[in-house]
């Protein structure tokens, strides 16, 4: 392999964008120059999907960087959609604010519980997931709720400058802010430190407890924002409508170079991972591949990344080769 390419694949953030370039090239080739894939419509549809998956992937990715995992986003996205639509029928801005407040409160409570009882996030947020989606059921009475303000609903998806809409600009802005904070401020370094080695970070004076609560509040905020705007744009909300966000968002973060073992990944990488998923989905649809292929491709890519990042992959491969006699046994 060329050294430049190998270096690019070694860097987890760059890896996502190299993969993205390859996928764009393959899809363009599969289109056979008929212009179904490389056109402004597909680009807009990619960005609209980015607006849906992106903030949730960023939320999950940030919790994964501090070596936690916020399963509750699966419930929060539905709950925030329902809250936004119910309050938003009265005032759209208040609807978004209410949803965001619910998201941040839930993040703060879960983060505080983790700190207080020294619990791992998986258990707490699993309880959070069930509680939040239960709350969405209770609030809505298990019915779809319509959003009456058609103007606002239209505005969410109205393209301007060809590519942008309110929804995707909000998502892009969230990523820009996260990337700048991550690269330029002390908070960014503290987050990485808390994720790579929590005890050491504590010893070094990183306010780990505050970082945990903060990241879970941000996670709630981002998820609630995505859920609220998406529900506006669909002009409806229901407790089950958006519940399938967990898998694509996790996939995007993982493909973007984040690792569940903590300390690895950046917002820019996560954005790359989200773009890969969105380009795959929009691209496959554009060149006329059936929707079930989304699942197959997402699952395949996710499984491949899980294998590539598996700690024992190298050891097991060597052991297999040795057993097959292709390589000498080690001296010891």
């Amino acid at each position: 392999m060329m050294p430049a390419l190998r270096r690019a694949l070694g860097n987890r953030t760059l890896r996502a964008f190299v993969l993205l370039a390859i996928i764009v090239a393959v899809l363009a080739a599969a289109d056979q120059g008929r212009g179904r894939f490389l056109n402004p419509n597909t680009a807009f549809s990619v960005l609209q999907q980015f607006a849906t998956i992106g903030p949730v992937a960023l939320a999950l990715g940030l919790t994964m960087i501090i070596r936690e995992y916020d399963i509750s986003v699966g419930g929060m996205i539905s709950l925030s959609g329902c809250v936004a639509v119910m309050v938003g029928n009265w005032s759209p801005v208040l609807g978004v604010l209410a949803a965001v407040a619910v998201g941040m409160t839930s993040g703060a409570v879960q983060g505080a519980i983790m700190n207080w009882l020294r619990l791992s996030s998986l258990g707490v947020t699993l309880g959070g997931l069930l509680t939040l989606s239960g709350l969405a059921y209770v609030l809505t009475g298990n019915e779809a709720i319509g959003y009456d303000d058609i103007d606002v609903a239209m505005l969410m998806n109205q393209p301007f400058l060809g590519l942008f809409s309110v929804r995707n600009v909000v998502a892009i802005a969230a990523f820009v802010v996260a990337a700048v904070v991550f690269a330029r401020t002390r908070i960014g370094r503290d987050v990485v430190a808390a994720g790579s080695d929590r005890r050491a970070a504590m010893v070094a004076g990183v306010p780990v407890a505050r970082i945990v609560v903060g990241v879970f509040m941000i996670s709630g905020l981002l998820t609630a924002l995505a859920g609220a705007l998406l529900s506006y744009s669909l002009a409806a909300a229901s407790p089950i409508a958006l519940a399938d966000a967990l898998v694509p968002a996790t996939a995007a973060a993982i493909i973007g170079g984040v690792s569940l073992t903590g300390g690895k990944g950046t917002p820019v990488g996560i954005a790359g991972g989200v773009l890969i998923l969105c380009v795959l989905r929009s691209g496959l649809t554009a060149i006329g591949v059936a929707p079930y292929m989304h699942n197959i491709v997402t699952g395949g890519v996710l499984l491949a990344v899980a294998l590539l990042d598996a700690p024992d992959l190298r050891r097991r491969r060597l052991a297999l080769r040795r057993r097959l006699g292709r390589e000498p046994a080690p001296a010891d």
């Binding site: 239960g134 809505t140 430190a193 005890r199 699952g299 996710l302």
Partner: protein, 335 residues
């Protein structure tokens, strides 16, 4: 290397896992007393609530409740093995259940119900066991592998079936639908047998002992000569088998195999596992506890229905209970 770089801390001060952080905080007797008193009070309240709810403590009402619980219950017993092995939960058991109903009904059309039963069991065991192998052998992340499997199973199954359900020949599966063993409907009997066999496997076999060891401390298990990946693969295969039991019962009950069955079962199953008191970090718990957890959840749901609460309220309350149970676990220092 700057002073604020965490890597400048000497290695012994570093902590490798979140589980290790939890372990350091092992509360003593006071915590355990709190735990047991909260549990005791909760149970007393539940029993009092049950006694004062008219129509709850009748044989037919209880039997219906227990039969309904059996379908998730079997999956929950399977999930117990995964949780015990230290791999938290599987996100793909619901999808596996759905795919297995299709395989079962589809196979029953060509090779008859008994052959189909075997095909369903083998299919589910192989599918789930393969995930266990990837997780155990390469130490790949269990959350990501099972999520990838969820997407792959649903995608491939939709592709092969065209998203349509399959339906059995009339009367072919009635022996599973209407069968009874003594006074018990077949699903309930199957669930109780699954719990019993699962518990025997955990308590009295080498595999069971290894599973507890691997789950509580994989490195120590390896040092003791246990090949962890074999144990983990077997745990997942058992989970697949339990899921298949639930799948064939559901296919018979609804006379169809389709991909909508069992959706969300992974969350209901892990709820039962955790409410029963199996530790989410692995290494502690049992199939009997899961039976207890499933029982408590369905009693709560049944009581809420009979007292006029909506179904929605049940979802919410079960979530709160799971959250409470998880919080209580550390108070009691259950490890």
């Amino acid at each position: 290397m700057s002073a604020s770089d965490p890597r400048s801390v000497p290695a012994p001060l570093r902590l490798r896992s979140a589980a290790a952080l939890v372990r350091l905080q092992r509360p003593g007797r006071a915590g355990r007393i709190v735990l047991w008193s909260v549990r005791g009070i909760a149970l007393v309240l539940l029993v009092a609530f049950a006694l004062t709810t008219p129509g709850f403590l009748t044989a037919s009402s209880l039997l219906t409740m227990l039969t309904t619980m059996s379908f998730v219950g079997c999956v929950a017993v399977g999930m117990t093995f995964i949780t015990l092995s230290g791999n938290i939960m599987s996100f793909s058991l619901g999808a596996t259940l759905a795919a297995t109903t299709v395989v079962f009904v589809g196979a029953s059309l060509s090779i008859g119900p008994w052959g189909a039963l075997l095909a369903a069991f083998l299919f589910s065991m192989a599918l789930t066991g393969a995930q266990g192998w990837v997780i155990g052998y390469f130490r790949a992340n269990p959350i990501i592998v099972t999520m990838a499997s969820l997407a792959l199973i649903i995608g491939v199954a939709t592709w092969l079936t065209g998203g349509k359900g399959v339906y059995p020949h009339r009367g072919d599966l009635d022996f599973l639908k209407e069968g009874r063993i003594g006074p018990l409907p077949l699903p309930l009997a199957a669930f109780l047998v699954t719990v019993a066999l699962g518990q025997l496997l955990l308590s009295f076999t080498r595999f069971g002992r290894n599973l507890y060891m691997v789950g509580s401390n994989p490195r120590a298990a390896e040092a003791a000569g246990i090949e962890g990946w074999r144990t983990v693969t077997a745990a997942y295969a058992v989970a697949g088998l339990c899921t298949a039991i639930s799948a064939v019962l559901m296919a018979a009950r609804y006379s169809s195999g389709d991909l909508t069955q069992g959706s969300g079962y992974e969350y209901q199953a892990i709820s039962a596992v955790l409410v029963g008191g199996t530790a989410i970090q692995g290494g502690e718990g049992s199939a009997l506890r899961t039976l207890f957890g499933a029982f408590v959840i369905s009693v709560v749901e049944g009581l809420l229905v009979l007292n006029g609460f909506s179904t929605q309220m049940q979802y919410f309350l079960v979530g709160v209970i799971v959250l409470g149970v998880i919080m209580l676990q550390t108070v009691g220092g259950q490890r």
